[in-house]
Symmetry: C2
Subunit: 621 residues, 2 copies
C-alpha cells in the first residue's frame, strides 16, 4: 500500500521527469516530448518504487531489467536517471548531440540502456530472452518491457506474447502505454483499452487495465504483478500523449515535435502550476533496495575437442549436420551455450544439441523475429545463444539482426539450406541473399564452411566471438570432408587447396561451389590445364592478401563461384576488395529466380557447376 | 444444404486428391504428403462446391481467389486441378521436376498459383490485399486463404488479422488447417482449437470451429461464411496430419516425407479401403458456376506532367517530399495508383497523396510485413500500389520482398530517411543496408534520386515498371534541385554533371553524397583541380558503360561515395561491374554504427562529406 508521502514523492518525480524530458528535447531541438509525457507517471512508479537495480553496475546479473521498446521516448528514462544521480543535468541536456552517450533512441553507448531499440515492436522479444535467462539461472530478477500502443501492431509483439505464455514466464511484465496516438494517425484501437486486454488474454497473459496517470493505480498494478501467478503479466495503461499540457494533450499533430525554447518555458511553468501539489514535495526520494552485488561473469574461451568426432577425410557429411555435432560439443564444453530453433531442428540439426541438453534448448516455433530477439536478450545477459533456421528465413528477422548490429549483440546465427543446391523445394526455401544481408551488419562475421571439419571449427569461432553478430552458412547436401582435425581456420583467412607454378586462373568457392571448383580442377587437369583453388570459408572478414597473392601466380585471373545472387555476394566482396590490384575477376553466381529440380540440375542451370567453371576457365585461355 | 449425392461426390474427390497428392510426391520422391492429407477434405469442398472460378482464365478479375499460405501442401491443389481438368496426370507426376511448372512450393510459373508462397505466414496479407482490391473495384469475388496451424506463430499473420478486422473485410475468409503438428514438434496449441478461436475473436474475426474431415461440417462452415456479416471470417478446422492412413495419421515424424513407391501403393490401397464409400461414387463432378468472363486489363503508360510542379533549379526540396508530389500526380494520371503507409505518412510525404485520394490510401499502421504483403496482393490484381516507410524499416519485410521477387510481383517501395544524413534520430532509424537488400531481389530496379526532379521522374519509372520490385531511396534533408523539368532519367542510366579535359578522378555519388561531391568539386576547383562528377540515380541496373567512359577520361580513377554500408552498396556494385576495366576505385562509405548528431557532423564522421571527398582526391594525386 502506498503511503501519502510516498505517493507525493512519486508525483513529484513524475513532474521532474516531465520537465526534464521537455528540457532535454528542447535543448536538442529534436525528439518526442509528448511520448515521454504519457509514460512519465508509470516510469516514476517503476523506478522509484519497483525496480531493484544496482545503479553502480548496470550489468549486475541480479538487477531487474527494464527495456523501453518504445525507444523514441528514451528521454523519459534519461530524465529519471538524472533524478537518481546516474547522469548530471548537463549530460541530460547533451541529448542527441554528436559527442553524447544519450542518443535519440537507446543504444549501448549509454550502458543503462538495456538494449538498442527504436525500431518498434522488438523489445518484448528481448525481454522474453532476459526472462528466460532468469529462469535458466534461477535468479529472482524481473524483466519489465514498456511498449507503445502503436507498436503492438507489429507482429513480432504477438510472436513474443505467444511464446512467453507458452513458457509461462511469470517473471516477464509488459507495460502498454496506450496513449492512443501513433505518429501520423490514431492507432487501430485508439483508447479502447479493453481491446488490448482481450488480445493479451487470448494470448495467455494476465492483464491489468489502469489509468496510467493515477499513481495509486499504477502502484497497485505493479503490486499485482508481484503476486504469485503463472503467466506473463501486462499492465495496460490508458494514457494521454502530452499529458499535463492541455495545448497538446491527447491531440494529433504533436508526435516527435520538440518545444521551442520559449514554448518550453511556458510548458514547464504550466506543468508546475497544474501539478502544484507534486511540485510542493519536500522529502527525499528513495529507490527500492539494490540487489546483491555481483559482476556479470566474463566469457571463457570454449574449446571443444573435434577429435571426438568421427570426421574422416573423404567421407561425406553435410555441413548442417556437422553444425549440430559442433553445437553438442560446445554444449559439453560450456554451460553458457544455448540453442534456439524455429521448428526446423531436424533440418538444421540443432536436434543433436537438444538431445543432450533439452534444458538449454529453446523451441521458438515458426517465428524467426522472436527467435532472434530472444537470442539478443540471452546474449545481453551473458549467455552464448545459437539460433538456426533456413538461411532464407533469417530475412524475416533482418530488422532484428540489424538492431543487434547496432547493439553490438553477440547473436550466433546459422542459416542452413543455402542456395539453389537445396534442390526440389524450390526458390522460396533457398537462401540466395543471406550473404548480402549478413555482410551488411556492422561488426558481423560471416563464415561459410565447405566441409564438416571447417563447419565444426567455425562454429567454435562463432561461440568465441562476442563483439557482434556471427553468421554461419550451411549446406543441405552432403559434401566430402576436406580437412583433418588438426587444420585451423583463423577468422579472416582462406585455404589454398590447389596451387602450382602453371595456374591459369584462381577459382574461389565456398560451400557447394568449392566442391564444384575442385571437380572443375580435375576436368581441367585432364587437359593439362592447371588452376589454383581457394576455399573462402571466411567471407567477412575477407583474406584479400592471400587472394591477391594466389591470383598473382594464377595469371592474375580470379573466378568466383557462389550459390548466391550477385548483389552483396562473394563476387562483389572479392571484386571490391581487389579492385585496385589489376586482377581480372569473372563472377559466376545465380542470375535469376531458381526453381524446383535436382541439386545438380539447378547448379548447372545457374551456371555454377563444375562444367560451367570449366567453361569459364576455357574462355579465359 | 448438401445433398447426399453431392456429399458423396465431395468425398470421392477428397479421396482422389489424397491419392494424387501421394502419387505426385512419391513420383518426385520429395514433398509433404501428410500436410496434403490434412487439407484434402476442405480443399475438395472449397473447389467443388464453393469457388467461383473461370478455369480458362486464372487472371479473370471476377474469380474468387484462393491462396495456399501453407505452400508446402501445394500438391493438394495440383491434384485438385487435375480433377478439374486443368492439368493432366502426367503433368501432375512431373511435380518438382526441373522442367515442370509444378514446383515444390507455389510459384507463378504455374498461373493457377495465386501468389508465390512457401515462406510461411505470408498468405493472409496477400489475401488481405486481394480482398481490399475487391472492395476498391466493387467486385463480388471472395478471397480464401488456407493457413497451417504452425505458421500462425508468425507475427505477420496477426498483423494481417488485425488490419483485416480494422477494415471490416467481410469478403476475406481464412481457413486454418489445424493438424496439430509442425515440422519438428507439436505446435504451441496442439489440438486446442479453441485457443485459435479465442485469438481470432480477440482480433475481431468471426470464427467457426469444425471437424476438418467432416464434409457436412466443412460445407456448412463455407455456407456460414457466405451469410452477411461485417467481419473477416475464419474456419478453424481440427484436422489430422496424414488423415486416412493410420500408420502416420496424427503422428510425429512424418513431415515432408514422401512415401516410397511400394509404400505408396500400400497407402493408396488402404485409402480406397478406408474410404470405400467415397470410392464407389459413380456420378459426375461439378464445380460451382464460372463468374462472368473478363480479362485483367493491361497497364497503360502513366505520364504525369512534371511542369505542373513548381520545381526550380537551385531551390531546395527533399526528395522524400518530391516523392509525395509525384504520387499525387500519378494518382491524378491513373486510377490504378494506390498508396500504402505504415504510420509515417508525414515523414515519407505519402500524405500528399492521401489528401487528394483518401479512398486510394491504405493506412497499414506500424506493420511493414503486412503492408508489403498487401502491396503484393494489390499488384497481383492489377493495381499499381506504392508503399513507403523509412528505408530501415523495410528490413522488417525483407522476407516478403524476397518472396515478391520470386513471384515477380510489381511492388513499388519507397524507403525514406536513408543513411546517416537523417541526423539526430540515430542509427536505429538510418537505412544503411537497404541498397544491399533491394539490389539482391531478382528483377528488382533500385533508384536513388538526388533532387526533386529526378525523384519525381523516377517515381514515374517505378509506376510503369511491372516486371518486379522497384525501390526508390529518398533522403530526409532538403537538397537543391539540379535538373530542369525536361531532363529525362532513363532506367539504367546516369548523369554526368561535371566533366572537363583535365579531370583527375571521377566522383560517383547519389542522394546526399552527390551534393557533397558537387561541393568537393568546388573546393578542388579553387585549387585548379578538376574532377568529373556523376549522379548515379540508377543503382540497378547500373550504367557501367558511361562510368567506364567517364573514368577513362578521369585518369581511370573513380571515387564512389555513399550514405550506406559497404556490403552490397554503390562501391561494391560499381567495383564488381568495372572490375575488368583497369580502373582504380576508391570507396567512401559508412564504416560502422553511426550515432545521433547533426547531419553534417555525421556525414563528416562517416567520411562521406565534401571534405572527405576532397581529401580522397588529394590522396590520389
Amino acid at each position: 500500500m502506498l503511503s501519502e508521502n510516498q505517493k507525493h514523492m512519486l508525483e513529484n518525480k513524475a513532474l521532474a521527469i516531465r520537465i526534464d524530458s521537455i528540457r532535454a528535447t528542447t535543448a536538442s531541438q529534436s525528439g518526442h516530448p509528448t511520448s515521454c509525457l504519457s509514460a512519465s507517471d508509470i516510469i516514476s512508479v517503476l523506478f522509484f518504487s519497483v525496480l531493484n537495480y544496482d545503479y553502480e553496475n548496470p550489468l549486475n546479473p541480479n538487477n531487474d531489467r527494464f527495456i523501453l521498446s518504445k525507444g523514441h521516448a528514451i528521454p523519459v528514462v534519461y530524465a529519471t536517471l538524472k533524478q537518481i544521480g546516474v547522469i548530471s543535468d548537463s549530460e541530460l541536456l547533451s541529448l542527441r548531440k554528436v559527442d553524447s552517450r544519450l542518443e535519440g533512441h537507446p543504444t549501448p553507448r549509454f550502458p543503462y540502456n538495456e538494449a538498442a531499440t527504436g525500431s518498434l515492436g522488438q523489445g518484448l522479444s528481448i525481454g522474453l530472452g532476459m526472462a528466460l535467462n532468469a529462469r535458466f539461472d534461477k535468479r529472482n530478477y524481473k524483466t519489465y518491457v514498456m511498449m507503445g500502443d502503436g507498436e503492438v501492431a507489429e507482429g513480432s509483439i504477438w510472436e513474443a506474447a505467444e511464446l512467453a505464455s507458452f513458457y509461462k514466464l511469470n517473471n516477464l511484465i509488459g507495460i502498454l502505454d496506450c496513449n492512443r496516438l501513433g505518429q501520423s494517425d490514431e492507432t487501430q484501437h485508439g483508447h479502447e483499452v479493453e481491446r488490448y486486454r482481450k488480445k493479451f488474454e487470448a494470448f495467455g497473459w494476465k492483464t491489468c487495465v489502469i489509468n496510467g496517470h493515477d499513481i495509486n493505480e499504477i502502484y497497485k498494478a505493479f503490486e499485482e504483478s508481484a503476486k504469485p501467478h503463472e503467466q506473463p503479466f501486462i499492465i495496460i495503461a490508458k494514457t494521454m500523449k502530452g499529458y499535463g499540457l492541455e495545448a497538446c494533450e491527447n491531440k494529433e499533430g504533436f508526435h516527435g515535435k520538440p518545444f521551442k525554447k520559449e514554448e518550453a518555458e511556458v510548458a514547464i511553468a504550466r506543468l508546475k502550476e497544474r501539478f502544484a501539489h507534486a511540485a510542493s514535495f519536500q522529502g527525499s526520494a528513495h529507490t527500492p533496495p539494490t540487489p546483491q552485488k555481483e559482476l556479470l561473469k566474463p566469457h571463457a574461451l570454449i574449446e571443444p575437442d573435434i577429435t571426438q568426432e568421427n570426421f574422416k577425410i573423404g567421407s561425406k557429411i553435410a555441413t548442417r549436420k556437422a553444425y549440430g555435432y559442433a553445437l553438442a560439443a560446445l554444449g559439453r564444453a560450456s554451460k553458457d551455450v544455448y540453442v534456439l530453433d524455429a521448428d526446423v531442428k531436424n533440418s538444421t540439426f540443432t536436434e543433436l544439441f537438444e538431445k543432450e541438453f533439452p534444458n538449454r534448448f529453446v523451441q521458438c516455433f515458426i517465428a524467426e523475429q522472436n527467435m532472434v530477439g530472444i537470442s539478443a536478450g540471452l546474449a545481453l545477459r551473458g549467455k552464448i545463444p545459437f539460433a538456426a533456421t533456413f538461411g532464407a528465413f533469417f530475412s524475416r528477422a533482418f530488422d532484428q539482426i540489424r538492431m543487434a548490429g547496432i547493439g553490438h549483440n553477440a547473436l550466433r546465427l546459422c542459416g542452413s539450406h543455402c542456395g539453389v543446391s537445396i534442390g526440389e523445394d524450390g526458390p522460396s526455401q533457398m537462401a540466395l541473399e543471406d550473404l548480402a544481408m549478413m555482410r551488411s551488419v556492422p561488426n558481423s562475421i560471416v563464415l561459410y564452411p565447405s566441409d564438416a571439419t571447417s563447419a565444426y571449427k567455425l562454429c567454435t569461432t562463432a561461440a568465441n566471438y562476442h563483439d557482434g553478430v556471427s553468421y554461419l552458412r550451411t549446406t543441405r547436401m552432403e559434401t566430402p570432408i576436406l580437412y583433418s582435425a588438426q587444420e585451423e581456420f583463423p577468422l579472416g583467412g582462406c585455404k589454398v587447396l590447389r596451387q602450382s607454378n602453371n595456374d591459369v586462373a584462381c577459382l574461389v568457392g565456398a560451400g557447394v561451389t568449392l566442391h564444384e571448383a575442385l571437380k572443375a580442377y580435375e576436368l581441367l587437369a585432364k587437359e593439362g590445364i592447371s588452376v589454383s583453388v581457394i576455399d573462402l570459408y571466411s567471407i567477412k572478414p575477407l583474406d584479400s592478401k592471400t587472394l591477391t597473392k594466389v591470383a598473382r601466380k594464377s595469371r592474375e585471373h580470379i573466378i568466383t563461384i557462389e550459390d548466391h545472387y550477385k548483389a552483396g555476394g562473394i563476387g562483389e566482396a572479392v571484386s571490391s576488395s581487389l579492385i585496385n590490384e589489376n586482377i581480372k575477376i569473372k563472377q559466376l553466381y545465380v542470375h535469376d529466380v531458381s526453381r524446383s529440380g535436382q541439386p545438380e540440375e539447378l547448379l548447372a542451370l545457374a551456371g555454377i557447376d563444375a562444367k560451367s567453371i570449366y567453361d569459364a576457365v576455357k574462355e579465359i585461355l
